[in-house]
Amino acid sequence: MREYSVLIGGQAGDGVRQAGQMVARIFNRLGYYVFGYDDYPSLIRGGHNFSLVRAAEKRVLNHNPEVDVIIALNKETVEKHAWRLNNNSLVIFDGREQIGVEGSKVLAVPMSAEVRKRRYHPLTRNTYALGIMAGALQIPLEILKDVVRSMLRKHVEENLELAELGYEEGKNHAIRRVEKLDNDPRPVLTGNEAVALGAAKAGLRFYIGYPMTPASSLLHYLAAHEDELNVITVHPENEIGVAMMAIGAAYAGARTMVGTAGGGFALMVESLSLTGQNEIPVVFVVNQRPAPATGVPTYTAQSDLHFVLNAGHGEFPRVVVSPGDVDEAFYLAGKALNLAWKYQVPAIILSDKHLAESYMTATFDESRVKPEEPVLWKPNGEFKRYLDTETGVSPMAFPGTPGAIVKVTSYEHDEYGITTEEPEVITKMVEKRMRKVKYIVEELKREETVKVYGEGETAIVTWGSTKGAVVEAAEKLGLKVIQPLYLEPFPTWAMEKALKGVKKLIDVEVNYGGALARLLKTYGIHVDAKILRYDGRPWTPHELEEKLREVV
């Protein structure tokens, strides 16, 4: 498989992330599938940030720790990442200084000095570097220029000029020729962007969020695209305000989603329970990061699974989906919003920093997502907000509907929504609400709820963003991979099918305790080994391969 990896490193504020995305777009336009990973500490200026961009002939869902090119915006980058270089690789270094890196060609170009000399914006340096890279990899300059034009809003001319300048220098030190493939370029999206678009396609009207890494970019993205997506974004005083506003807006008839990380979600738990009682549909995006508490805010984890599954006092149905790539994020976000509205239950999109902020080639078919009809009250006869039906779903109406008095409540209640303390009514209403699970399951049985990759007697079970690295490692080792997309209601039927013929089951996650393995146990499925990490970093296929060999 033809593939290339590029690392860009520098300080926070150097525009590392954007440069990485530009690299991804360049390869995208060359017909490659791309994946980009950002690693950055929790600070605004300084520190060390890097982006790892991988481009390949086939779809890739993870970065490669080894790289062909390092764009080092400072010396620290070379020092920290030289180990990633393979033979015949290239280091593009900002400086005059001669630095030696074994086995690699080093192109030291005083880019900042050049930029300063011209009094250009410091960030134009990145385009300069990308010009050098394009030249050295014999990528047509026009492609880079196109990317500059489509991605940058400011200082476009200066950037184009520096792109050219760099290109000329790079050309003289060509190390290889990146061939153009015969694919049309495709959208490159982060998990958060895919969730935003999937929800928008399913009729999202309000997105309400309080900034929190790694969910802030979901808020920012939707705020920036309000008019293109017919979505209104709101940033309230805190997460309790977020959740309660969302419930209010949904009560008034607007499809509403909120997003946060574990700590923000913790503050929404009482409100979540409210949606369990008043049956108002709200979608919660929970992007995991290392915890407890503030933890390691800009890194990744999968340690909120059981929290999310069990959050809220009392018993009520909920939907929990777990996308592992941008296509799944798009589909499942749409599905979560639709399920929430069709069954009047809360739905949670459980993602993590690694999926939320990494960018990758999207291949989804947007026509598969559209607003599905909820059960609406027909204005004939009396309206009972909590009519006890066979499916447990009561036809909805919204305030402003003549003839319908819409009473919703946090108390246990009768069909009209009036408070009750009668044991028979309580029993009936608990059963009404819980009955929905059966019908959600029926609908899910018609959906893809568990993904299976490859085959064999040894299978890996994993979830969320970790599936990227797992699938790639498993392919190499000839192992089967099983990835549940739904965690609640748990697709036991599909798991059973997926597990047929499996003799050995290995669990791979990014947490300490093996959360998925624990969940599986509740459903009678036992894993034979667990491969876990909990240092804030996602698995890479290479690391996994090694670990898997040990246990297989």
Binding site: L197, F206, L229, I240, M244, M245, G248, G253, N278, P399
Partner: protein, 286 residues
């Protein structure tokens, strides 16, 4: 002229004589008048927190949202922003609005969302049996403070003013006509409107005798409701001690753009079409 019936079949379980009856009667009358004056009944939504006051939503046959303790205001804001055509009136307790969820109080005032907040200010947690609330006087002995509350009471009128509220008023549960007027004025006001209502809790803190003697009408005595500093002075005239005269009426009233106007900028969320495609956005990602 027909009057819309707002009765429900819910049994009223307030203590006989509770100040909440006065608020219920005033609220119903205000709603009836609003409907008579042209507001479609289906466009009225009331909310409540958790506490004795909260039961009011069970007693008025109109759209309602029985919220969580302290969470009337963000829910009301969500309703209003999703459908600005609705008339949104929240009923909250003093424990509810000034304690548990006071952050939403500060922010609703700051944002100037066009909603009404009627606070059943009985200076106790009624439903949980009479503990001190943010507005109980210092020294108040409830079951959580048998040695007396260690805190000075909050001044919600001053707090609303400092937070940016554009309509700040106080009513008294026993002055029904005045209270109806206040609620209607609050509804007509474009922006966040606080109606703090002195609501004696006959069981845990019977302030009827005191208030009935000591309230006086700001408007009757003359007060410039457009003057912030005058409003602040009046707010500070009395603060929840059973001492001195107690001003009721409108303290402050000014016009400012509302939150939903500024947020929506003419968009009508309920009328906006669903998008057909995201391809125009996907193009930006290539």
């Amino acid at each position: 002229m027909t009057v819309v019936s707002l009765e429900t079949y819910a049994e009223n379980t307030w203590c006989p004589g509770c100040g909440d009856f006065g608020i219920l009667a005033a609220a119903k009358a205000a709603i009836q008048e609003l409907v008579r004056e042209g507001t479609p009944l289906e466009n009225i939504v009331i909310l409540s927190g958790i506490g004795c006051h909260g039961k009011i939503v069970d007693y008025i046959n109109v759209n309602s949202f029985y919220s969580l303790h302290g969470r009337v205001l963000p829910a009301a804001t969500g309703i209003k922003m999703a459908n600005p055509e609705l008339t949104v009136i929240g009923f909250a307790g003093d424990g509810d609005a000034y304690g548990e969820g006071v952050e939403h109080f500060v922010f609703s005032a700051k944002r100037n969302t066009d909603i009404v907040l009627v606070v059943h200010n009985n200076m106790v947690y009624g439903l949980t049996t009479g503990q001190y609330t943010p507005t109980s006087p210092k020294g108040y002995q409830g079951k959580s403070t048998p040695k007396g509350s260690p805190e000075e009471p909050m001044n919600p009128i001053a707090l609303a003013l400092a937070s940016g509220a554009t309509f700040v008023a106080r009513g008294y549960a026993a002055n029904k006509k005045h209270l109806i007027w206040l609620i209607k004025e609050a509804v007509k006001h474009r922006g966040f409107a606080l109606v703090d209502v002195l609501q004696p809790c006959v069981t845990f803190y019977n302030t009827f005798p005191y208030f009935s003697k000591h309230v006086y009408d700001l408007q009757e005595e003359g007060h410039d409701t457009s003057d912030f500093m005058a409003a602040m002075e009046k707010a500070r005239e009395w603060n929840h001690r059973l001492e001195g005269r107690v001003p009721i009426g409108i303290f402050y009233k000014v016009e400012k753009p509302t939150f939903e106007e500024e947020l929506l900028k003419g968009r009508r969320p309920r009328q906006m079409p669903y998008i057909d495609t995201v391809s125009h956005v996907l193009k930006q990602h290539i």
